[in-house]
């Protein structure tokens, strides 16, 4: 017997919540970035679940594009983090709260 899609959706909502709380609570920039990845994965899981529930390949195609965008986002984000950490070591999000350098 297959697991109903509602269970997957509830799991994805819980995972998204964990990611969102982590993004708000943690101060390390890298860990905040990992929490963004958690949220993206939760959304991917809902997309795949909806694709199965509606018998539609469009959800899986959306996940494919989300993967590409996530890869690009990680590359640019880590580039920004590297260039920030070069200026000041051990920076958390609190240390770089000013918009001027």
């Amino acid at each position: 017997m297959r697991v109903p899609g509602a269970w997957y959706l509830a799991l994805a909502a819980a995972l998204f919540t964990i990611g969102a709380i982590g993004l708000l609570v943690r101060r390390n920039v890298l860990v905040m970035f990992m929490c963004v990845e958690l949220m993206l994965n939760a959304v991917n899981l809902t997309f795949v679940t909806f694709a199965r529930m509606l018998d539609d390949v469009g959800g899986q195609t959306a996940v494919f594009f989300v993967l590409v965008v996530a890869a690009a986002e990680v590359v640019v984000g880590l580039g920004i983090i590297v260039s920030i950490f070069r200026r000041r070591s051990g920076a958390t999000a609190d240390d770089i709260s000013l918009l001027k350098g």
């Binding site: 017997m1 269970w7 997957y8 959706l9 509830a10 799991l11 819980a14 995972l15 998204f16 919540t17 964990i18 969102a20 709380i21 982590g22 708000l24 609570v25 943690r26 101060r27 390390n28 890298l30 860990v31 990992m34 990845e37 958690l38 994965n41 991917n44 899981l45 795949v48 679940t49 694709a51 199965r52 529930m53 509606l54 018998d55 539609d56 390949v57 469009g58 899986q60 195609t61 996940v63 494919f64 594009f65 993967l67 590409v68 965008v69 996530a70 890869a71 690009a72 990680v74 590359v75 640019v76 880590l78 580039g79 920004i80 983090i81 590297v82 950490f85 070069r86 070591s89 958390t92």
Partner: protein
Amino acid sequence: MIDWVVFSVAALATLSGGLGVVLSTHPVHAALMLVMTLFSVAVLFVAQNAHFLAAVQVIVYAGAIVVLFLFVIMLLGVDRSEDVRTERLKGQRPVAVVAGLTVLVAVLVLARSEWVSGARSSAGSLGDGTENVEILARSLFTRYLLAFEITSVLLVIAVVGAVILVRRSGDAPDTGVGIET
């Protein structure tokens, strides 16, 4: 029966990995917990017949992105433990937790009546016995061809942007060898 076992084990691993990312004080531990979450999400993809996406999930996320994270952690030497006890902004943490849980409860309550609604298989049917990769490729290269081509532009822009960001200003652009720190 076996579906339920697979789902519960993968769901447990997903949630504990997510909690591990949020709660571990060491960035390297957080990255390893992230691998666990990503891998169990891939298991959930397989359980829902999204075989290609599961493979891509393992290769791109667990393979490339987490390695990139670990590489940056290693390169910058930020593998010190974070002091999670101090709270810069007073009362921010409880508010964040309450806000997150409110969103979760709101989603679950709103979804109680109807989990899914809409037209069935408007972009292509998954259940006609064809291989998952073939269905996905057919959709990607016909209906979503323009978006697919635009993602290549996006990737090129990301690569160029990363190179420009990380390159030191004033450096000669041809010093590709020897990373200085």
